[in-house]
Symmetry: C2
Subunit: 213 residues, 2 copies
């Protein structure tokens, strides 16, 4: 198909499509004449992936470039591949202060304890563990260090969602689409879970604090 049809089918403007090609996020079309290129279904799919990750996932173009590289690397073995993708879409938090303060040191220990307590086969020094430690230490810095008490309730919910995700993947996803699905699932799943948590907050707030209009 021509670029105009690609644009129509994906809702992405022609200049934006050209920008993604220049940025290396979308493979160039096959040249059919010096001024015209032809695009395939794979381009439609990739454009929808890019838009989903940018618009809903809130990834930056730089972050997206890393993720797309992982999706395109078909050589990577399954096990390591999933980990690499997960690492790439974890935001790299900077922490609340200029140096790793006491709160962060304590939070890292709390995270290592949690992983141990739950018997998770997971890296207690990887980016996800660090992101959790940074969030916990930020809570401590704003006076809510007590929130660490509810960590297990959160972990339980996360386990249940992760099991749901992986069962969906095992049931519905063919191997060639696995990395793409994992990326989509991590980013859009976070957006879903965040939105659902807000909806459930509104409900829990009515139930606990009552209707005080």
């Amino acid at each position: 198909m021509r670029i105009g049809e690609l644009s129509r089918r994906t809702g992405v403007s022609v200049p934006t499509i050209k920008y993604y090609v220049r940025e290396g996020l979308l493979p160039a079309g096959r040249l059919t004449s010096p001024n015209q290129a032809s695009y395939e279904e794979a381009h439609v799919r990739r454009l929808r992936l890019i838009r989903a990750l940018l618009d809903v996932g809130g990834l930056s173009v730089a972050g997206l470039r890393e993720v797309v590289a992982a999706v395109d690397d078909s050589e990577r073995p399954l096990h390591g591949m999933l980990g690499a993708v997960a690492d790439n879409v974890v935001p790299r938090y900077e922490g609340a202060g200029d140096e790793p303060g006491e709160a962060l040191v304590a939070a890292r220990a709390a995270v290592a304890d949690l992983i141990d307590r739950r018997g998770w086969h997971t890296d207690s020094r990887g980016p996800a563990a660090e992101a959790l430690a940074v969030a916990l230490s930020a809570l401590e810095n704003v006076g809510h260090g007590g929130f660490v008490e509810v960590l297990d309730a959160y972990a339980e919910a996360a386990e249940s969602v992760a099991r749901t995700d992986l069962e969906y993947v095992a049931r519905n996803v063919v191997r060639e689409e696995l990395v793409e699905s994992v990326v989509v699932g991590i980013v859009l799943g976070d957006a879903m879970l965040g939105a659902l948590r807000r909806l459930a907050h509104a409900d829990a707030s009515v139930k606990i604090f009552g209707e005080e209009r």
Copy 2:
């Protein structure tokens, strides 16, 4: 305290503190001479809140300004206040296409059904419901419309986390600090839950796909 001590205690540089004052995010100090201002504990607390929301929550300065205005508005009644804060910290997603396509229309109906099915006292047309619909329609657009089947498993996990959050708030938070705590809890709780989900994914991946190193 002077601005130098405020900087030391919060890990925020003096020029950055001045920038926050200019942006209306941090109240100015009390002038003790034409060139010197004095800062209180409230400034320390506010700076830590700002850094937590920017660094861990990933809010923009504009988003932060809205949230800080809600925190400072002590006139707002409890019930509406919680809702307003929750709405302010929901990212405003743009959707994957240029117009509300079929996928988004179907996703909105699925969200309304879900809210109805679970008996949630919550606005099925508010920003959180819309954010969920946008995420679902983005999944549909990248070929994972089937993910809607697992919506209830996600909703169950979200309910459990929301109950935990509100019980923590009811137990630990005095009324004056309620809005601040809700903001922090929404933003940092999302970061925690996202990080925990990744940790649990790594574990579930080992259990379901086995060790294939």
